[in-house]
């Protein structure tokens, strides 16, 4: 089975916050940054990070959770709210800051909206895409390809 992943391109993000609001709407029906599972980190006016779960495998958070609340299922890291006691060990260990505390100590983390992420549907610039894992690379070779084509053109081929 081909694993689908969220592909993030920071350079394309213009911090319009649509993904954040769409995520919060899809999760809880209200527009509220604290309920969203995706965060745009802005420092001094620059988008430095889009913090969203990478669904790592093996995942650090699953490794560190002693309560059996985080598990990898079908290539997705799933949080079982009923087992979570908000000990926040997963927040401390996540290298992406993708798990956050919401109201009442409930933890929120990306569940990929069951295969049709709301953030991807609303992103106007293509900074966040949902695609098969093996095609992620293809979005990044453009720079090299363009340079080589330009070069080949200059020397008279092409």
């Amino acid at each position: 089975m081909v694993k689908h992943v969220l592909d993030i391109d920071l350079e394309k993000c213009n911090a319009c916050m649509r993904c954040v609001f769409a995520c919060s709407l899809a999760r809880s029906g209200v527009i509220d940054e604290r309920q969203a599972m995706i965060t745009i980190v802005i420092e001094k006016g620059v988008v430095v990070d889009i913090a969203v779960c990478r669904h790592c495998d093996p995942a650090p958070c699953v490794n560190v959770c002693e309560f059996d609340a985080l598990n990898v299922e079908n290539g997705r890291v799933v949080l079982d709210q009923s087992k979570c006691t908000t000990c926040k060990a997963c927040i401390s260990i996540c290298p992406f800051g993708a798990i956050r505390e919401s109201y009442g100590g409930e933890l929120v983390k990306c569940d990929l909206c069951g295969g049709d992420p709301a953030c991807v549907r609303v992103c106007p610039t293509g900074a966040i895409r949902y695609m098969p894992a093996h095609l992620v690379k293809m979005r990044r070779v453009g720079g090299v390809v363009r340079t080589v084509y330009e070069y080949l053109e200059t020397i008279g081929r092409g």
């Binding site: 694993k3 093996h134 070779v141 070069y151 081929r157 092409g158």
Partner: protein, 210 residues
């Protein structure tokens, strides 16, 4: 973006640390590449025993309209961005072969290296496991299989000589500029002339409006 120039600023390279004077490099003469994709197949057979271009660490992008192909491969940067970006410290420099390798015991599959690489040289398999060129432990299969001799592997000076023979002046110029070797005066002159010629051709081409 220069495909043959290293990351700036150039700090003490991994090679200088281990005292190697001549680094071994893999390079491609882009003019000779015909886009036959044999290297991709060889790479996937070597590493996985199956023929599947998606399991290859080298990828050929072909644009048939202008009959040009671009192999995308790992340049084994001196100061590798993938290793810097890795949150699990899983990418390390292998002194034996001169390749940056992924330690799969440490790798958490977060794709941070794929996002960090400016060349798109790290691929993901269908299971979202990152794979990158490991130089086949010092004996690259793609070099052996290439029917047109477009991929070279060897000590840096030798590769540069070969690239020059292939009249890839631009690429050679790019590598020399990097400061590995100070080019002699006449070489600079040669290169400058070559660039001038390139520009002339380019100007003519532009008039033709291809």
């Amino acid at each position: 973006m220069g495909w043959a120039t290293s990351m700036a600023p150039r700090q003490v390279s991994a090679w200088e640390v281990i005292g190697m004077t001549h680094r071994y490099i893999l390079a491609v003469d882009y003019e000779k590449c015909t886009g036959c994709h044999l290297c991709e197949l060889a790479c996937s057979i070597k590493h996985y025993g199956v023929v599947n271009p998606y399991l290859s660490r080298i990828t050929i992008i072909t644009k048939p309209e202008i009959q040009a192909s671009t192999p995308i491969f790992c340049l084994q940067c001196n100061d590798a961005l993938c290793a810097r970006a890795c949150p699990a410290n899983a990418i390390y420099f292998d002194e034996k072969t001169g390749a940056w390798l992924i330690d799969y015991n440490k790798c958490i599959g977060c794709r941070e290296c794929v996002y960090a690489c400016p060349f798109g040289a790290i691929s993901l398999t269908v299971k979202a496991e990152p794979i990158k060129c490991d130089l086949c432990g010092g004996d690259p299969e793609c070099v052996k299989v290439c029917p047109h001799g477009a991929i070279f592997y060897g000590p840096e000076y030798e590769v540069i000589r070969k690239l020059k023979k292939g009249k890839s002046v631009g690429i050679v110029y790019g590598i020399l500029e990097k400061g590995v070797e100070v080019p002699a005066g006449n070489r600079v002159k040669e290169a400058e002339e070559a660039v001038k010629t390139l520009y002339r051709i380019w100007e003519e081409r532009k008039k033709l409006n291809i």
